[in-house]
């Protein structure tokens, strides 16, 4: 990729990385603190449902919360006074990236993991005789990316979008207005395949890991 393009990308980011808009106007409105009183509201302490959910906070911090019901503990003959639940964070190839354990049937945990631009999930189970027994798995999560990936010939795609029609344009055709030849039609087809592939990849990696919490 040429030098100019790299410069645009870095120009786009140079201020961004040390400036946040999270200083909302709302924050200035609530500056005038009222007498804050804790009112009494009753909210559930647990939902009596097997759950393990994974959320991302940033490129290296993740949050997981879980609940495992009594019936499931009995099914797997788990005594949490003697045995801990095991959590495995896996990628799409089922490789374990992080592992931790907990003696609680209901809990939450923040963990660190440097895994960018990949699909991950958390599996909740048991570690018995050095073998991981899966009980349930979380939602699939695509992690953040913080790397610049300049396109090459194969994945630089442009789209011309109008109210009534759309046209995919191949990157190496320099003159967009001339991109209506039979050659460009073939190229358009190739690019449509590429776009389909992009969305299919997501579906595939989802199906690899199956449904959550089941």
């Amino acid at each position: 990729m040429d030098e100019l393009t790299q410069k645009i990308a870095t120009t786009s980011l140079e201020i961004e990385n040390d400036f946040s808009s999270a200083s909302h106007a709302l924050d200035t409105m609530v500056y005038e603190k009222a007498k804050e009183e804790s009112e009494s509201y009753t909210i559930p302490t647990r939902y009596y449902k097997n759950t393990v959910t994974l959320l991302a906070a940033n490129t290296s911090t993740y949050y997981v919360y879980w609940e495992i019901i009594e019936q499931t503990l009995q099914t797997y003959q788990i005594d949490l006074y003697k045995e801990k639940l095991c959590f495995r964070v896996e990628n799409a190839n089922r490789e374990c990236l992080v592992q931790f354990s907990s003696p609680f049937d209901l809990g939450e945990y923040f963990f660190k993991l440097d895994a960018q631009d990949i699909d991950i999930c958390v599996k909740l189970g048991l570690l018995r005789n050095n073998e991981f027994i899966e009980i349930m798995k979380s939602n699939l999560l695509h992690t953040f990316s913080s790397t610049i990936k300049f396109p090459d010939f194969t994945n630089e795609v442009w789209l011309e979008k109008h109210q009534s029609y759309m046209k995919i344009i191949q990157s190496h055709l320099e003159e967009i207005n001339d991109a209506q030849t039979s050659t460009s039609n073939i190229k358009q087809f190739e690019q449509i395949l590429f776009l389909n592939d992009m969305s299919e990849k997501r579906k595939t990696s989802s199906s690899l890991l199956g449904n959550n919490n089941d």
Binding site: A34, F110, V157
Partner: protein
């Protein structure tokens, strides 16, 4: 990089005018839904009243002025569904009139009190006049509804009103149950049609938060563009070749406009930004805190809590506590200087970008609308002066995202990176040790909503339908990103915690009514009256059909 035949020259004609670059100003107008009908005076309702008085009306007044002066301007404004609902709520607007009357009354007293002080009496008069004119404008021009002002310019095409999540839910963290996200988007477009009589073309994603796959839901709901943080485009797959200076399309054909942080920072930064100029009004010094308690008591919170009244007599002056008297006329003159400075810097920025790009650069500058007027009192005047200056210079053209896309329909396709406009561009502000507890409940409620929508799919019982619809309202209100945000900033923590818990409790109370088949109409009616958002709501939206 692709080279467009008709874009080899960076300067382009707009009509007969040669334009060197485009500027897309975007104001995000949002406040969480706050309505407490049981109370005559509820402090958190003042967030709305202050925003109307200091932000929305001053902005609309300037836009009318520009229109009268035949100055061509373009502005993109997101009006979030909760804000639109509150601005159209009779109960809240009746309270707003009372709020203004109280301020005008305080102004009358202040004119008498400051009569012997040459410096202060002018500014007391200024404020009394400001609040009186605000009331006149609200009644006579806006006919008691601020949305009428926005509709006027939206229909004329000078502003593009876009929508937002139904209750400003932080979509990536709700997407564990995708129906939550679908409901946030679908109800938002329905609300937009209700208030503006047309479908929204664009959306301000709550907190600019994006995750992979969201574009499909947006496309399914007819959304043509959204605004994202630069991390979404630069770390996209593949990287956006023109950075944030030209839009891209997502794999599902939705256009993404990236935020230019440089122009944001120039206005927004509390340290380096224009609002920090020493001659501008000081936000913190207010007679609500400065004057004797007995004198100011009728104008502060009834429980005696001192609050901002809007009568602020001092300018920033410097970095110490020493504050000199504010002179609004001098401050408003200063906005001309800052408008010219902003324009000059955009010109330089565009010149630099033109040397790097093969098309005419576009600079997207999104801001919280409430920044202009509330935090930065002179902000609306700055915008007015900026549009005037831009019109006179004819070098940069302010346009809307749709106008840009009409002009430049060919754009790169990328899969944007997950991101937000929060700290470092990720989700930490809305997911950390202080607020993570809420997500277990929000997800469980969404799962229950899905379950009950299926269970009551064929329901014809009007009372049960009322309960199910109110359950959905409570879920949506609990999902508002504002609560998690305020828990992080620790400014209104208890109120945010209470609000979240209140909606969780309400949801479960209603669910239990269905479970035990025992309807409590008093509770239901109370909730419908208080959390009255979205009168068109239909719980079946959670079926996702």
């Amino acid at each position: 990089m692709i080279c467009l035949k008709n874009e080899k020259h960076q300067a382009v004609y707009w009509g007969t005018i040669m334009i060197k670059g485009y500027w897309i100003p975007i104001l995000h107008s949002h406040l969480p839904f706050v309505k407490h009908p049981k109370y005559e005076n509820f402090l958190e309702e003042h967030w709305l009243f202050e925003a109307i008085t200091e932000c929305y009306i001053p902005l609309l007044k300037r836009l009318y002025l520009l229109e009268n002066e035949n100055i061509d301007f373009r502005l993109t404004v997101s009006i979030t569904p909760p804000l639109a609902e509150m601005l159209s709520d009779n109960h809240l607007m009746e309270k707003y009139i009372k709020y203004l009357d109280k301020l005008i009354d305080l102004g009358n007293k202040e004119i008498v009190r400051t009569n012997d002080n040459e410096e202060y009496k002018h500014i007391a008069n200024f404020y009394q006049d400001f609040f009186t004119q605000t009331k006149d404008f609200f009644i006579q021009v806006l006919n008691y509804n601020v949305l009428n002002g926005y509709r006027h310019f939206y229909d004329k095409g000078s502003i593009e009103v876009i929508t937002c999540g139904a209750t400003h839910g932080f979509l990536p963290l709700l997407s564990v149950n995708e129906k939550s996200v679908e409901a946030q988007i679908k109800i938002a477009t329905q609300a937009h049609k209700k208030f503006f009589n047309k479908a929204p073309k664009g959306i301000w994603l709550p907190e600019c938060a994006y995750y992979q796959g969201l574009d499909k839901i947006l496309n399914d709901n007819g959304i043509e563009f959204f605004i994202a943080d630069s991390h979404a485009l630069i770390y996209a797959n593949p990287t956006a070749l023109n950075g944030v200076y030209a839009p891209v399309y997502t794999p599902n054909n939705v256009a993404v406009f990236g935020r230019d942080a440089l122009s944001s920072k120039q206005v927004w930064s509390s340290k380096e930004g224009y609002p920090g100029d020493f001659c501008y009004r000081d936000f913190y010094r207010d007679v609500g805190y400065d004057l004797e308690f007995d004198y100011i008591k009728p104008y502060i919170n009834p429980d005696g809590t001192r609050v901002f009244t809007g009568y602020k007599y001092h300018k920033i002056t410097g970095t110490t506590d020493h504050k000199e008297v504010y002179n609004p006329w001098v401050a408003f003159e200063k906005t001309k200087e800052h408008a010219a400075h902003f324009h000059e810097h955009r010109e330089k920025q565009i010149a630099q970008l033109s040397s790097l790009m093969m098309r005419t650069p576009m600079i997207v500058s999104p801001y919280d609308a409430e920044l202009f007027g509330h935090w930065w009192f002179e902000g609306p005047e700055f915008l007015y002066q900026l549009f005037k200056h831009m019109h006179e210079c004819n070098v940069i053209k302010a346009i809307t995202p749709i106008e840009y896309l009409t002009r430049y329909p060919s754009n790169q396709v990328v899969s944007p990176n997950a991101s937000s406009w929060g700290d470092k561009g990720y989700y930490d502000v809305w997911l950390n040790g202080g607020n993570a507890w809420i997500y277990r409940h929000l997800h469980a409620m969404a799962d229950s909503m899905s379950e009950y929508a299926k269970k009551y799919k064929e329901c014809n019982n009007n009372d049960e339908i009322r309960i199910l619809n109110q359950m959905l309202r409570e879920l949506l209100l609990a999902q508002s990103s504002d609560w998690a945000f305020l828990m992080t900033t620790a400014t209104a923590t208890q109120y945010s915690v209470n609000r979240t818990k209140e909606h969780i409790q309400n949801f479960n109370t209603l669910k239990e009514m269905l479970d035990v088949n025992k309807l409590n109409f008093d509770i239901l009616s109370q909730l419908e009256d208080k959390n009255s958002i979205f009168d068109f709501i239909d719980y079946k939206i959670f079926l996702g059909e």
